[in-house]
């Protein structure tokens, strides 16, 4: 098991004539929390979608634990140990919280429709284990009492947490989190911060975090990659990145940067 978990090399991706990613390269080691930041339209979500197989890049390579993922179906890449959450809540609305988590165990379980339909012993045992594990995962994120609520009855922040738990339960090597802090209150933000650290330290899962709440990124990330107009403009420790000239320019523009440095 090498330390290098995800390696993206020279990735190019365009939609029609719009070149969204123009030679993106970065490496992620395990276990770390990697921040992925950049102005709106920098290509962050597109990069995530390319990694998890929703978009197919025209050029470049993406290797997960040494194996290329380009051209594979999203469900196959998920099977390889890549999980993700989405910008808007993607909990299954027709399920309870617990059932959502049980669905997260899909790739860990094997019961087919015949052994389920004929109620065979093996299937029933696996079902019991699935439920038990789902309850444990719910406990890990501190939401046990919501197990039997419909997913739609949760607040926005709670839905995000359940979604993270649903991804974690499948025992992924790496999880891509797309703006998990959107709309969270200050208190909730602190809880999320603690949760992300526990995921890294207790579960040993590597995280890639797209986030606009810079305070969270600076606080929790081991390393930050900055994307602007489809290119990596900085990559390093949070403090180094924050003081990087190119990064300040990308966020504030040249003129403001002058004022920024003057003050």
């Amino acid at each position: 098991m090498s330390a290098l978990l995800l390696s993206v090399q020279d990735l190019h991706l365009s939609f029609g004539g719009v070149r969204v990613l123009q030679g993106v390269s970065f490496d992620v080691r395990r276990p770390e929390i990697r921040g992925l930041i950049g102005p709106n339209g920098a290509g962050k979500t597109t990069l995530l979608n390319a990694i998890c197989g929703i978009y197919r890049p025209q050029q470049g390579s993406i290797r997960l634990d040494g194996t290329s993922v380009i051209g594979r179906k999203p469900s196959d890449i998920a099977q390889m140990g890549l999980g993700r959450t989405f910008q808007s809540s993607q909990l299954f609305k027709g399920m309870t919280v617990l059932e959502n988590l049980m669905t997260g165990l899909h790739r860990q379980t094997t019961t087919g429709f015949l052994s389920a339909g004929f109620c065979l012993r093996r299937g029933r045992d696996e079902e019991a284990r699935t439920e038990e594990e789902a309850r444990r995962a719910l406990h890990f994120v501190g939401m046990s009492e919501f197990a039997d609520r419909p997913a739609t009855a949760l607040s926005f922040g709670q839905q995000r947490v359940v979604e993270i738990a649903r991804t974690l339960i499948g025992d992924p090597k790496i999880v891509l989190l797309d703006e998990p802090a959107v709309g969270l209150s200050i208190n909730r933000l602190a809880e999320l911060d603690a949760l992300l650290r526990r995921i890294r330290d207790q579960k040993g899962v590597t995280l890639i975090l797209i986030e606009h709440v810079i305070r969270l990124v600076m606080d929790v990330c081991d390393r930050v990659t900055v994307l602007d107009s489809g290119r990596v403009i900085a990559d390093g420790a949070p403090v180094a990145v924050r003081n990087d000239q190119a990064v300040i320019e990308a966020y504030l523009g040249k003129e403001l940067r002058a004022r920024h440095s003057a003050s």
Binding site: G94, E99, M102, T109, T111, F118, E131, G142, G170
Partner: protein
């Protein structure tokens, strides 16, 4: 839970089991029709209500089951007891193939393409005369329970009732399993489902296949019930009846499928007396449900009676009988 699902259905089954003792020929026929439509409704509900695939080919699958069962007997001389399950498997196979377009289409587009497929099957039934005998249809061999001292209608009724019980239990177990949750995941969010490792093609194909099998088995029973197979029995109006059973009963509910099928068939038969009123009343019923009772009758039952919920997992033990709404849980330390 005295009026829970299990008790009510067992009572209905008991009534169903003694119907042949007092029913006349017509009433027994209607009873048999109800069992057939229960199978159709369960199959369609798995595909549309659970897996969320808005397909309009169920009547065609029903026809394929009926034609396959009948034609295997007529042309190849197979006995009914082999032709009948084969008909179910043929419909399941055709259904599975229908999932291929479903991978690329959804919503209205899938509805239209499956409708086109259904029309194409009609065309084959009508015009491939050498095999299907065309518009006039054909008679199937009379089913006989020879060594047993029971008449064909009573025998067929009990076979149908037995299959309803078997396939109802099967469906309930499938939807409360990993497979059922995968269906609902595909319905509620394809991208999220894929990100959890759920293969869309596989589960769409499975839903189409299972629902094709249910429709095919229903078709085989229907051909034996009527002793006759003709194209107009499997047309668009037939499809609307199937759709109505799950809308009235409740989408995404196996129990609702049973209730919807029984009510629709009984209403249609009661209205048969008044020619012309049948279509009007039927249409009004549908509009009424779509407008005022979106979730179907099952949501009404769930509101007023305990024990009709259908979670997507096997309920563990009695502890869940009173749902712990916001009950304090001392074990949570992370808050």
């Amino acid at each position: 839970m005295p009026f829970g699902r299990r008790n009510v259905f067992l009572a209905l089954l008991a009534i169903g089991a003694i119907i042949p003792a007092f029913a006349n020929g017509y009433q027994l026929f209607v009873g048999n029709l109800v069992t057939i439509y229960i199978l159709l409704a369960i199959g369609l509900n798995i595909l549309v209500g659970y897996a969320g695939q808005l397909a309009f080919a169920n009547a065609a699958m029903f026809g394929i089951g009926a034609y396959a069962t009948g034609l295997l007997q007529v042309h190849l001389g197979w006995p009914f007891w082999i032709a009948f399950p084969s008909g179910g498997l043929v419909a399941a196979a055709v259904g599975t193939l229908l999932a291929l377009p479903a991978l690329r289409m959804s919503g209205l587009y899938l509805a239209l393409s499956t409708l086109a497929f259904a029309q194409a099957t009609q065309w084959v039934f009508l015009h491939w005369e050498r095999v299907t005998f065309g518009a006039g249809g054909f008679k199937t061999p009379q089913l006989s329970f020879a060594p047993l001292p029971i008449s064909k209608p009573i025998g067929l009724y009990y076979v149908s009732l037995g299959l309803v019980v078997l396939l109802y239990v099967f469906a309930r177990h499938v939807v409360t399993s990993r497979t059922g949750r995968a269906f609902v995941a595909v319905r509620d969010g394809e991208i999220a489902a894929e990100s959890l490792g759920i293969d869309l093609l596989r589960y769409k194909a499975l839903a189409f296949g299972i629902s094709g099998f249910y429709a095919g088995i229903a078709g085989g029973l229907y051909s034996a019930l009527l002793n006759f197979v003709a194209p107009e029995g499997y047309d668009l109006f037939q499809m609307i009846i199937h759709k109505a059973t799950i809308v009235v009963g409740g989408m995404g509910s196996i129990a609702g499928s049973v209730i919807g099928a029984a009510i629709i068939i009984l209403v249609l038969e009661l209205l048969r007396e008044v020619k012309g009123l049948q279509e009007i009343a039927f249409g009004a019923l549908l509009v009424g449900f779509v407008l005022f009772m979106r979730g179907g009758l099952i949501t009404v039952l769930r509101r007023y009676l305990r024990g009709w919920e259908e979670p997507l997992r096997i309920k563990g033990g009695e502890s869940t009988e009173t749902p712990p709404r916001a009950a304090p849980q001392p074990s949570v330390v992370d808050k």
